[in-house]
């Protein structure tokens, strides 16, 4: 399928929600038209894409923004006197403002473009490690729900600095034990890094309380927003964390772009990470001075197209309304939950009021086999550990089958999944 300008205009004008009673004002059928890939067939069956927690599909509005960038204004940014360089710079900096507004950050100086969540967390780990703010004997707190990308960077840091990692345990219902969290917080705690929504179980963590408690012992806080960015309205001032990280590809934007939001005074105070073009003000072999934030943390040519397309994706989300998206998706997840609950010997992980994803296992059936058979019926779900091996170990499992929703999924797809599961289970039992 390919879109020409005319189609683009026509589609852009089509209303994407209608005002009716019920769980949601979104019109998923209209929205689906925005996503070219959704008209694909897999093994001769219509694609049902339920792997949104891994990555989201892209609407043509985003694809068109990328293409228009290259067809109209592509140039390297900053310092160029020629027209294209200036147009590209303007678009890139406007994208930064779009991100700022989306997160309700205080200023654009607080928005650093990275290549993704993992990159953003590593940035923080590296610069904190060299800041003098964390020293041997200190502690960092993460949780048992974390993605490897919010474990690995801290493990590397622990080894480098001789500090230790404390883990907020996960309760049987897949939520964090905040009572134990409180006992872990001491004046040795220098950082608390927690995901906003668990990619494995869909658990929504109470990040406001987590940050509030951390502040009381003077610890910094990082929220891994890889999952929340597509599902929740985010206000970094309200959460009152020090760092917030997310990836564009999880929120309908391309791969290779992400964001680190950080408090401006921290960005000013912390040492640089990568050295190179853009992040430098004056260079001589004797002495180099660094640029101001956010440029200080954007060494080299950034992913200009990615940043601009990310802004287009956030605009897409905001046009639909993140609150509407949230309530619509919650409706889908609740329906999934009740369908799955009716399967004999199913275990559903995580709390009932989960967001975005639902993870489960069926006794005697390998998630990998179920996933394989579902794929043959056109359903894209993820199986395995979801980059959360410690969490899997906590529940004594090798993995789960996970369905995760996006704004384009429908109740029809959810019901079809129920039927497909039944069929697959018949084969496997």
């Amino acid at each position: 399928m390919s879109f020409d300008e005319e189609t683009a205009v026509r589609l852009a004008r089509r209303p994407r929600w209608h005002y009716r009673e019920g769980v949601s004002a979104l019109d998923p059928n209209a929205i689906r038209q925005d996503f070219p890939i959704l008209s694909r067939e897999i093994h001769g069956k219509p694609l049902v894409y339920l792997d949104n927690a891994a990555t989201s599909q892209k609407p043509f509005q985003v694809l068109k923004t990328s293409r228009d960038y290259y067809e109209e204004i592509n140039a390297n940014i900053h310092r160029g006197v020629h027209h294209l360089a200036q147009a590209a710079t303007t678009a890139y900096e406007a994208a930064r403002e779009t991100v700022r507004a989306h997160l309700n950050a205080q200023s654009v100086e607080e928005i650093v473009f990275t290549s993704g969540t993992t990159d953003a967390i590593n940035l923080v780990a590296s610069v904190l490690g060299r800041s003098g703010k964390i020293n041997a004997g200190d502690e960092i707190i993460i949780s048992g729900l974390e993605h490897h990308s919010n474990i690995g960077p801290w493990q590397i840091l622990c080894e480098q600095l001789g500090i230790s990692l404390k883990i907020i345990p996960v309760r049987e219902d897949g939520t964090l034990d905040l009572a134990i969290y409180e006992t872990l917080l001491t004046d040795r705690t220098k950082l608390v890094s927690i995901n906003h929504i668990s990619n494995a179980f869909g658990t929504v963590n109470d990040v406001n309380s987590i940050c509030h408690l951390a502040k009381q012992v003077g610890a910094l806080t990082l929220i891994d927003g890889a999952q929340s960015i597509a599902h929740l309205s985010i206000d970094v001032q309200d959460i009152n964390a020090d760092f917030y990280a997310f990836s564009g590809h999880k929120v309908y934007a391309p791969t290779g772009i992400g964001v680190l939001w950080a408090r401006r005074d921290l960005l000013e105070e912390l040492p640089p990470w990568k050295g190179g073009g853009e992040m430098i003000k004056e260079v001589s072999f004797e002495k180099t001075t660094y640029n101001d934030p956010p440029f200080k943390y954007e060494a080299g040519t950034p992913n200009i197209e990615g940043a601009i397309a990310l802004a287009a994706a956030l605009n897409y989300v905001n046009n639909l309304g993140i609150e509407s998206i949230h309530s619509y998706e919650t409706h889908l997840i609740q329906e999934l939950s009740s369908i799955l609950s009716s399967i004999p010997e199913v275990t559903i992980y995580g709390p009932h009021d989960r967001s975005g994803a639902i993870s489960f296992n069926i006794k005697g059936v390998h998630h990998y086999d179920l996933g394989t058979l579902l794929d043959q019926m056109g359903f894209a779900l993820r199986t395995g550990h979801h980059c959360c091996q410690p969490l899997m170990a906590r529940f004594g499992i090798t993995g789960t089958l996970r369905a995760s929703v996006g704004v384009y999924n429908t109740i029809g797809e959810v019901h079809a999944l129920g039927e497909a599961l039944e069929r697959a289970l018949k084969m496997l039992r």
Partner: protein, 136 residues
């Protein structure tokens, strides 16, 4: 029957099926029927580690013929290794070593299966041979 004859037989059987569901059902069925492998044999040295599933394979020489035992935590994977067991059990180590396992390509199984699964087929074939080499 020689290994080649058994491969031809398998090929004919698989070709009877029209669609993937039936083929998967057939493979899963083979897995279900695979003689159980003693838990005590399911050790690290007998393990072929796949992407998301695990296969244990043990082999011994019984009256000069290869005798394979296999198991997996995944039923589909178990069915896949059952294909090999069916073809190779009761053959001489020499034959196992010297006969090419053409059925993997010929059945179109490789294209049909997910690449991670297809990769497992290659690993299994290699391991079956290795066992025969060690036994002989």
């Amino acid at each position: 029957m020689t290994i080649s004859e058994r491969q031809d037989e398998l090929l004919e059987e698989l070709n009877l099926f029209q669609d993937w569901t039936e083929r998967y059902e057939y493979i899963i069925g083979l897995g279900k029927k695979l003689p159980p492998m003693d838990q005590s044999l399911q050790t690290e040295d007998h393990l072929i580690k796949g992407c998301q599933s695990q296969v244990w394979l043990d082999a011994s020489l019984v009256d000069g013929k290869m005798h394979y035992l296999a198991d997996s935590d995944s039923l589909i994977t178990k069915g896949m290794i059952a294909l090999f067991v069916r073809i190779l059990n009761g053959q001489t180590a020499q034959d196992v070593i010297s006969t090419e396992l053409t059925f993997i390509e010929k059945t179109g199984l490789k294209e049909h299966l997910a690449p991670t699964r297809a990769n497992a087929l290659t690993l299994m074939a290699a391991q079956m041979r290795k066992c025969a080499l060690e036994a002989s």
